[in-house]
């Protein structure tokens, strides 16, 4: 799996749901949008080792 967190490549092995991945990353699902292979995906989607995953922070304070 190729994981990008806010545009930066991260080294992490994960297979399973996006939801489990976000928990592993300690990221709130309320604050991010996830793209799987360039397409928006729900947290229930499953990730395979060949997938490209982008986690984009979209909720900010201020």
């Amino acid at each position: 799996m190729k994981l990008f967190l806010d545009g930066r490549l991260k080294k992490l092995n994960h297979t399973g749901t996006v939801s489990a991945l976000l928990k592993k990353l300690k990221v709130s699902r309320e604050e991010v949008v996830v793209k799987l292979n360039g397409r928006l995906a729900p947290e229930t989607a499953s990730v395979l080792t060949s997938d490209k995953v982008e986690v984009i922070k979209v909720v900010f304070g201020g």
Binding site: E30, L40, A41, E43, S46
Partner: protein, 302 residues
């Protein structure tokens, strides 16, 4: 990868709405989003036919999506749109959203007024914070609201539309409770309070979760800047936001319930409240006290 189907059709889901346990594809998500936007405008009688609406346009995702949705609503509910952007003067942050605000207004053919802290006060927010680094969001919020109200009035607007979403309203409600400031809860939904120089604020994204605003922007191909304000980390709001998001994950629908509680409280408080806005003794702008917070803050950094 394996992705669930939309609860309404055979297309792939792009979002799971935990608070109603439904998957939606891009088409059905867009439909839900726009239906909710229009029904919120109707529910609170936010806009009348031929109103002149000033949109507080920071160029962030919320106000940019708000502008786009209002522009599309014009087809069914004729109104005049103008936009105001406040440039606080925050290095490496505001320039990008300012560019988006200019791009969007140009694309939609909307009159765009830009006001800046530098021009109005002779100082940027960065300069003010160098002298007094405490409470940047309080300073910025008060000064920005003041400039937006004045700008909207100068543009002859009937209403000032702002991009507050469900998360913002739920956070504000909790913050006001945690700070024991019930008066602020009573003042939050202003339409009932009348003052000649106060432009009524409307919040058409009131019932829309913040994350859904971002997803809508992506679905519509609206280019959004995903940078965080460098001052945001110090805000009390950040703590409330994190806690609220944790609660939402454990108990989906919490934000909607807080909004529901707020609207019920607001109704009761409006009935009991006798407080009215008066004119600030210094600048004449609407104020809850003798002198408005805008003048108090302005005086503190000069």
């Amino acid at each position: 990868m394996s992705i669930s189907k939309c609860s309404k059709c055979d297309s792939e889901s792009i979002i799971f709405l935990h608070y109603v346990c439904k998957h939606l594809c891009a088409k059905h998500f867009r439909e839900l989003f726009e239906k909710r936007f229009r029904s919120t405008v109707r529910e609170f009688s936010m806009i009348k036919k031929d109103d002149r609406i000033a949109v507080g346009l920071s160029g962030g995702k919320d106000s940019t999506v708000l502008l786009r949705c209002l522009h599309e609503l014009c087809k069914d509910l004729p109104m005049e749109l103008v936009a105001i952007t406040v440039d606080e003067g925050i290095d490496n942050y505001r320039d990008a959203t300012l560019r988006i605000a200019k791009r969007e207004t140009k694309k939609l053919g909307i009159e765009h007024k830009i006001v800046s802290f530098k021009k109005e006060f002779g100082k940027t927010l960065d300069t003010i914070m160098k002298k007094d680094g405490s409470l940047p969001c309080s300073y910025c919020g008060v000064l920005r609201r003041g400039l937006l109200n004045r700008g909207a009035r100068e543009l002859g607007a009937d209403k000032l539309a702002i991009g507050h979403n469900l998360d913002d309203v739920a956070q504000t409600t909790l913050m006001n409770i945690l700070r024991n400031e019930p008066d602020r809860i009573a003042r939050f939904m202003e339409p009932q309070i009348k003052h000649p120089s106060f432009i009524t604020r409307i919040r058409p994204l009131l019932r829309t979760p913040e994350k859904e605003v971002a997803i809508y922007a992506m679905v519509r191909g609206i280019n959004i800047d995903h940078q965080e304000c460098p001052y945001a980390q110090s805000a009390f709001r950040q703590i409330v936001r994190r806690q609220l998001n944790e609660m939402e994950e454990c108990h989906p629908g919490t934000k909607f319930k807080i909004l529901g509680s707020f609207l019920s409280m607001d109704k009761i408080m409006k009935m009991k409240s006798e407080k009215k806005l008066t004119a600030c003794s210094s600048c004449g702008e609407p104020s809850a006290g003798k002198t408005c917070r805008f003048c108090e803050m302005r005086a503190s950094f000069f």
